[in-house]
């Protein structure tokens, strides 16, 4: 019974996906799928961050760093040209192992680079390893210290991406090839593949949600909640708080990295703006808007807000909107948008105004 209640919403996701497809098709505006697909990949970051912030209570202002790390590693590996080094042992070994593919770049020149699968695996390894190395010291910190340390991490990634020649400096990396999942099924921005990509993106979201739901309903989830309520109490009851927090940190970094890899292959490019602090803050805003410890809220808000933002609905006020969301959420609805608004704060504010005036 309980498992039904836990997993039923997951089954609603395909219905939502098909329903949205139907609505777009009815409006004759399939092009909007592009923004939905991008929102879905951004939603992967949000799901991971929701686990970390909402359930484990640890703020991270560096998740755009992991997203960019994943995207950049994959982009750099699938666009590099190994032809000049073909005779070296390392490259040959990779070729024998089937890690390399030959293709032509957009100008028709031959190119030997890593296959997207190999790049994806490496990106995940790099993200996991970096998250672990950063996490081991940083997860011990609390509150402001943790927020600043993760912010620092995000800034360093941004600076490296902006300065390193491998990552294309300010231009980023373009001409990233499509990601062939199965023969004939690939992640890429071509119009002909749009509908397939739309369902692939929803599939990725479903997979991430399944993992996340399993995690919060397991012993780990219980431990995380106890940490969120009171770290000391959890610790005194024998919960290895440090290990759990670290595990969730790495897991959420992996999800962010996966989102980065997939979006980069879909867009065919990645630019330094993906690593900017504002992006990290945006993910935090979305998790806050979803109600912190509310996976479905985070997912919903992630899809809606990113979609609106990508459609340019906020115009010149794009970033200001997210700043406003952050403040408004904390002041009026700390439990998220999906719960009733806390009117007492408004009333108190008005009363204060009346008294002063």
């Amino acid at each position: 019974m309980r498992s039904l209640r836990t997993y039923a919403p997951l089954l609603a996701l395909p219905a939502v996906a098909v329903g949205l497809h139907g609505v777009l098709a009815a409006e004759g505006d399939i092009a909007r799928m592009t923004q939905l697909i991008m929102s879905a990949y951004y939603a992967l970051v949000v799901i991971g961050l929701c686990l970390l912030m909402g359930y484990a209570g640890q703020a991270s202002l560096g998740h755009a760093g992991f997203f960019a790390l994943g995207g950049y590693v994959s982009a750099a590996m699938t666009t590099c040209n190994l032809l000049p080094w073909r005779q070296t042992t390392a490259v040959r070994l990779c070729e024998i192992a089937g890690l390399l593919i030959e293709r032509k770049d957009p100008f028709g020149m031959p190119l030997l680079s890593f296959s997207p699968w190999a790049a994806f695996a490496t990106a995940m390894l790099v993200c996991g390893a970096v998250a672990f190395v950063i996490g081991v010291p940083v997860i011990r910190l609390r509150g402001h210290y943790l927020a600043m340390a993760t912010l620092g991490f995000g800034l360093i990634v941004y600076r490296i991406v902006l300065a390193a020649a491998v990552f294309g400096q300010a231009d980023g990396i373009s001409n990233v090839p499509p990601f062939e999942l199965l023969p004939g099924l690939r992640i890429g921005g071509s119009r002909a593949w749009r509908v397939e990509n739309y369902y692939i993106a929803w599939g990725a979201v479903m997979a991430a949600m399944l993992l996340a739901i399993n995690l919060i309903n397991s012993r780990v989830g219980l431990a995380l909640r106890s940490i969120h309520e009171s770290e000391e109490a959890a610790h005194s009851l024998g919960v290895d708080t440090y290990r759990y927090k670290l595990a969730v940190f790495v897991f959420s970094a992996l999800l962010a990295g996966a989102g980065g890899v997939l979006l980069t292959h879909y867009n065919g490019s990645i630019s330094p703006s993906e690593a900017s602090v504002m992006k990290s803050v945006r993910y935090v805003a979305i998790v806050a808007a979803g109600g912190m410890a509310n996976l479905w809220g985070a997912l919903g808000m992630g899809m809606v807000l990113n979609y609106l933002s990508l459609r340019g609905q906020f115009g010149r006020y794009d970033e200001a909107v997210f700043g406003l969301i952050l403040i408004a959420m904390m002041l009026f609805a700390p439990q998220g948008l999906l719960r009733p608004v806390d009117w007492s704060v408004v009333r108190r504010l008005l009363a204060g105004r009346a008294r002063n005036g």
């Binding site: 912030m53 703020a59 340390a149 800034l155 602090v277 010149r316 952050l326 002041l331 700390p334």
Partner: protein, 296 residues
């Protein structure tokens, strides 16, 4: 390196360092009374400088700076009143999120008011090319202005906290808010005052340094990071430590810059921040035992 070059580097390191120290002291003032790290601290500097640049077109320089400082002080008070005070169940996570939101709003507001052009106040004395000889090195007189004003701010704050009733009340709040309240200190007013004070000194520092570094709407966040690095390095809440740490970071940055590619300029401070957070989160100048007593 030649002697004159070393002096040159030292002076410019001390100059940026003293600005970092002021940002860090701004952090400390608010942290002491509220326990909040105000992520919008860097924005106060930029807001002050931008306002002064605009006002300087309609009035002489000095009144313009004075007005800018007053206006920013008022903004600081409003931030506390509108955004910080109404937050209930004020956990650090929640307050961090609020101040980040405030910093975004301020930055975007400045973008819409002043566009993204780089602006600067005129040099206070002389022009961009006039120099003063100090120990064999040539420096702009503005450098001396920055050092002087920052020293004056630190001295003024020290006097304020030691010798005035309000200053003592603020320190009492910092020590123990409940006890201060029992003694009849209006702690809410002290919190608002701390925001106004750190906005005000931030604006003043922003104005003095504007001719040298110039001012753009999005320069607040890097300043805040460096200010925070300095605040942590000197021990959060310890203003004398902040001054020493500020000068240290400024010197480190300048000498690292002379050896590293420019692109990694920002990274120096962040690496220092991460190292300090990992190895000595209580700061350089606090003994471990006393730090553990404080946090316990």
């Amino acid at each position: 390196m030649v002697w004159a070059q070393i002096v040159q580097y030292c002076l410019s390191g001390i100059t940026v360092g003293s600005v970092y120290a002021i940002v860090a002291i701004g952090f400390n003032i608010i942290y002491n009374t509220t326990g909040i790290i105000n992520f919008a601290q860097g924005e106060f500097l930029i807001l002050g400088a931008m306002t002064a640049v605009s006002l300087a077109q309609v009035m002489p320089l000095w009144p313009a700076i004075a007005c800018a400082v007053v206006l920013t002080t008022i903004v600081g008070g409003l931030v506390e009143l509108l955004f910080i005070r109404p937050v209930r169940q004020a956990s650090p996570l929640r307050l961090i999120v609020v101040t980040i939101g405030v910093s975004i709003l301020m930055r975007e507001g400045m973008l819409h008011v002043w566009d993204e052009k780089v602006r600067a106040l005129p040099y206070f004395t002389g022009s961009g090319v006039s120099t003063v000889r100090v120990l064999g090195a040539h420096v702009s007189p503005q450098v001396l202005w920055v050092l002087g004003v920052c020293a004056a701010i630190v001295a003024g704050l020290t006097l304020f906290f030691r010798c005035t009733l309000t200053g003592r009340a603020m320190r009492a709040c910092a020590d123990d808010r409940m006890a201060a309240r029992l003694c009849g200190v209006n702690d809410r007013r002290m919190v608002a005052l701390s925001f106004m004070l750190s906005a005000g000194i931030g604006a003043l520092a922003g104005c003095v340094v504007s001719p040298i570094t110039q001012t753009q709407y999005d320069m607040g966040a890097p300043l805040a990071i460096k200010g925070f690095t300095v605040a942590i390095l000197g021990g959060l809440g310890n203003s004398a430590g902040a001054v020493a740490a500020g000068l240290l970071l400024g010197l480190l940055e300048v000498f690292a810059m002379s050896q590293l590619p420019v692109a990694y300029k920002e990274a120096v401070a962040i690496v220092v921040l991460l190292l300090v957070l990992v190895f000595r989160p209580t700061g350089l100048f606090v003994r471990r035992e006393s730090a553990s007593l404080r946090t316990a």
